[in-house]
Symmetry: none
Subunit: 139 residues, 2 copies
Amino acid sequence: MLDSKLLDRLKDSKLKVTLPRRIVLEILSEADKPLNPYEIVDLAKANGKKIDTVTVYRIMDAFEDSNIVHKLKGQSKYMICEHPCDDHCHHQFICDSCGDVSDLHISDESFIGELIKKFPGIKIEAHYFEFSGLCKNCN
Amino acid sequence: MLDSKLLDRLKDSKLKVTLPRRIVLEILSEADKPLNPYEIVDLAKANGKKIDTVTVYRIMDAFEDSNIVHKLKGQSKYMICEHPCDDHCHHQFICDSCGDVSDLHISDESFIGELIKKFPGIKIEAHYFEFSGLCKNCN
DNA sequence: CTTTCTGCAAAAGGTTTGCAGTTAG
DNA sequence: CTAACTGCAAACCTTTTGCAGAAAG
């Protein structure tokens, strides 16, 4: 089921609430990692729901404009933006062995602070950290 | 002119020293930012030198394998790798305003060390850091 | 002389555009 | 009812593959 808070975010935007948009939101919120449009279409199909890839591209554009999702700059992957006003900051650890993805609760300051010191003048608005390796169960 | 140290890196690898490879190296070393294959072809043309795009793609693959260039994750942009290092680890800063991408040479230890302390038992094999905001020119 | 490399053509993959029909508000 | 949205087709751009000829070592 689609989380009601997410649905509210969609309602609060100037976007119309349509079936494809609900499906995309549901898939993104259930995914534990960023997804690209093709992956979203595939997951939808796996759930018995068909959406056109082009539609997903357009939905992602609209969601990005409305700050509902965050697009990873490098990859064309998207993830739900949980703290729209705070920042689009994410830290995750992906186990190469069992595939488990965990969200790391690490303090931003220790990472970001050092960076600012090293590169004075820049302003960091968002960040995404991804680590992979072996989790403590698989190590 | 092509820097002799760079040329040596090419000679030291198992790759043959060919004209297209010299051109690519020269362009990359003169560029102050990461370039994608199309940009390399265009800059070559601007210097009166014609290379096929496919050739550039293949050259970049070979250079990456030989640790001569570093590929920015996702961006399909390449830059001369001054510190031939573990190519699984990337730190990039993307300016939201001018789109400039810079690769940050920050020590892994400061970032990774803290993480290991906090999550004992995990083994980190690769990481990807992405920061975005405003570069010092746009800030 | 052998193996690697290049350039061309074509295929494959990812993303965007145009348009007619549909649906939310 | 109207503006926004979807789905399909097709265009477009990026990247990969296959192959014959050229060049490096």
